[in-house]
């Protein structure tokens, strides 16, 4: 016993010494490696980013933002403000009021919602919002909330279609998502070009899963870890993350995913709870904060680009966070068994509400209310440095959120660090699934195809952690918005199908043919 203890102690010392030498030798080489990865990455993806974010001719307004806004508005109007009409029924569905007890043991509406939420609630809510308010000012929050409310209609449409047109295989598994509803739905309506559009979507989905669903997450997780424990090369975090992701998606070590998926909801509640406490601690500034949000929404309060700048940032970050119109949620929801595809749509429209209207707003409020954004006392306008608002301590991204929480609750950055890592991880696992579904759509179902995608996914974890925030965030956005371009075209074409489903369901609900089980 004695010798065993002393031996293990000496092994520990040896390992520590080895690690110390390794780390002391690394920095010079490591930062060079980080820079190389960064330069190569920025130069190879630049053209794609430029195309997606190209402004409308003669303005500084990116066409992609207009595309998303118009899409969400059209769907909101077409379905007669569906997001407000059915929300009570959505809650009843989630509570299980309409679930047939005979189907117990199948995935419930609550589980479908929770799984989809753990894929969307992530760094977009923590880091993305910080980016939005530091570039677009507090006013971006207003546009973010509006985008969240409108996005509920897009989410409703895509998730209904996802379930309706999924593929079911003899072994009971299913594959669904925009690539399937675009192909089958277009064929059903006799619209040409479905196959080509579906392939285009699948390509963008693979890029999106490697970008926003992977590199952005790894990058921000690294920033947060480095912020708490001191700076060290990003590729080290990348390799550690890649190994864990590898263990889960390739090694089938589901227990890790299961554990994080169980902790993530509690982290979400803890995050919102703490944010609420901080807001209440500053109750005297709540009125002022909302004043800043509303005033900023229409004037910009001196932010670069003014009102338009705030609007662009708000809509961009909201779309990136709740993924409404992007098509990813349609993949997640399509695996759920239900007799009525439309019920999945009703449930899914709660996601943008929880994700953006509740959680994102909390983050923004905490940043504004703790006065992280520096105001020039003379003019009352925000101080602009390098195109964004100067912050106390010069933080950005997840660092800004961390500083905002830390200024009120000193130990919270540690909790946030854990939350960020878990959120990042669960989002990566979800997106690895979305990417995989798109990949197998392109290359066919099979073990070999699956493995090749999973290995590629792990490689991008390392690249994402090592690259700088700028190029990574640009590429992540571009890839995710490219998915939205294709998906929303598909949604426009298939709107009448969803309308038919909706009217049929609502009339059966009114007539009592669809009834409560409890």
């Amino acid at each position: 016993m004695q010798t065993h203890t002393s031996r293990s102690a000496s092994v520990c010392r040896l390992a520590a010494a080895a690690a110390a030498t390794l780390f002391s030798a690394l920095p010079a080489q490591a930062s060079a490696l980080d820079e190389t990865i960064n330069a190569v990455f920025a130069s190879t993806t630049g053209w794609f980013v430029n195309f997606i974010f190209a402004p409308l001719p003669g303005t500084s307004f990116p066409w992609i933002v207009l595309w998303l806004v118009v899409g969400a508005v059209v769907m909101t109007l077409y379905f007669g403000f569906i997001q407000f009409r059915v929300i009570r029924h959505s809650l009843q569905l989630v509570r299980g009021d309409f679930s047939d007890p005979k189907d117990a043991g199948e995935v419930s509406h609550f589980q479908a919602l929770a799984t989809a939420l753990s894929g969307t609630v992530g760094l977009g809510n923590i880091a993305g919002v910080a980016v939005a308010v530091s570039i677009g000012g507090p006013g971006a929050t207003f546009w973010m909330i509006l985008a969240g409310l409108l996005g509920m209609a897009s989410k409703f449409t895509e998730c209904t279609l996802g379930v309706k047109y999924r593929n079911e295989y003899p072994d009971g598994t299913v594959s669904g998502g925009p690539m399937y509803y675009i192909t089958k739905g277009f064929a059903e309506r006799g619209i040409p070009g479905g196959k080509a559009l579906a392939i285009l979507f699948a390509i963008f989905c693979v890029l999106g899963s490697l970008g926003g669903g992977n590199m952005f997450q790894a990058n921000q997780a690294h920033q947060q870890i480095a912020g708490v424990f001191g700076d060290f090369p990003g590729w080290i975090t990348g390799i550690i993350f890649a190994v864990i992701v590898f263990a889960v998606i390739v090694g089938g070590l589901k227990s890790i995913a299961r554990v994080t998926d169980k902790i993530v909801p509690f982290m979400g509640v803890l995050y919102c709870g703490t944010a609420l406490v901080i807001v209440l601690m500053n109750y005297d500034k709540i009125g002022w904060a909302f004043g800043q949000i509303f005033a900023g929404a229409f004037t910009g309060l001196g932010v670069a680009g003014g009102m338009v700048g705030a609007l662009i940032q708000g809509f961009k970050r909201a779309a990136f966070s709740n993924e409404a119109g992007v098509g990813s949620a349609a993949i997640a929801h399509s695996a759920v068994r239900t007799k009525e595809p439309i019920t999945e749509g009703f449930v899914s429209l709660l996601e943008p509400f929880i994700d953006t209207v509740v959680i994102c707003t909390m983050t923004a409020l905490v940043i504004v209310i703790t006065q992280q954004l520096m105001i020039d006392p003379a003019t009352g306008l925000y101080i602009i440095q390098d195109g964004r608002i100067a912050t106390v301590g010069g933080t950005s991204g997840v660092g800004l959120t961390s500083a905002a929480f830390g200024s009120a609750v000193s130990w919270f950055p540690y909790v946030l660090a854990v939350a960020v890592i878990l959120f990042a991880f669960s989002t990566m696992i979800s997106w690895s699934y979305y990417g995989l579904k798109a990949w197998t759509y392109l290359f066919g179902e099979g073990k070999g195809q699956e493995l090749s995608f999973k290995l590629l996914f792990c490689l991008f974890v390392v690249i994402g952690a090592a690259a700088n925030l700028g190029p990574v965030i640009d590429f992540s956005d571009a890839a995710i918005f490219a998915m939205a371009v294709v998906n929303i075209i598909g949604l426009y074409m298939l709107l009448p199908i969803v309308k038919r489903e909706l009217e049929s369901y609502l009339s059966r609900l009114r007539s009592g043919e669809i009834r409560k089980f409890r």
């Binding site: 299980g96 679930s99 007890p101 117990a104 043991g105 199948e106 995935v107 419930s108 609550f110 589980q111 479908a112 929770a114 799984t115 753990s118 894929g119 072994d171 009971g172 598994t173 299913v174 589901k254 995913a257 299961r258 998926d261 169980k262 993530v264 909801p265 997640a332 695996a335 759920v336 068994r337 696992i429 979800s430 699934y433």
Partner: protein
């Protein structure tokens, strides 16, 4: 009053004693026996995307396994002894489901073994038998 007796069986030795006890009650009397096996399931647990996708297939496997390994052998034994058995497999919270079935069938009595899957968890959170003793809608016999 109906003459149905429910016996909850989880495959354990105590469960088997409960079945035998219930069989003795039913034997010779004008009673029918419901043999109930509940698979613990909460619609509010959290699943990964993979688990969501596999759920339907896995449910089929779970039901088949419960049928072949747990319910069918006991049912065969009871039928061999000349009893009429209505076997049911359900998903849900074990205690709640037993109570639901008791109400649906208008059962006269519930019979259950005292120690199902005993262990630290049931010591901490209470056992099914303990919970049933408190909430059962009809008389409940707990077989040691």
């Amino acid at each position: 009053m109906s003459n149905t007796i429910i016996v909850a069986y989880d495959g354990s030795a105590a469960g088997r004693r409960a079945v035998d006890f219930a069989a003795a009650l039913v034997q010779g009397a004008e009673c029918s026996l419901v043999l109930l096996h509940v698979l613990e399931w909460s619609p509010y647990s959290f699943l990964t995307p993979d688990e969501v996708e596999e759920r339907h297939a896995r449910r089929k496997v779970e039901l088949a396994r419960a049928e072949s390994a747990i319910v069918a052998p006991i049912k065969a034994d009871l039928e061999a002894a000349g009893l009429k058995v209505n076997a049911q497999i359900r998903y849900g919270n074990v205690t709640d489901t037993i109570c639901e079935v008791a109400q649906e069938t208008g059962a006269r009595q519930i019979v259950i073994g005292r120690t199902g899957q005993a262990g630290v968890m049931s010591r901490l959170f209470g056992s099914v038998a303990g919970a049933l003793a408190q909430v059962a809608p009809v008389p409940c016999t707990i077989v040691p």
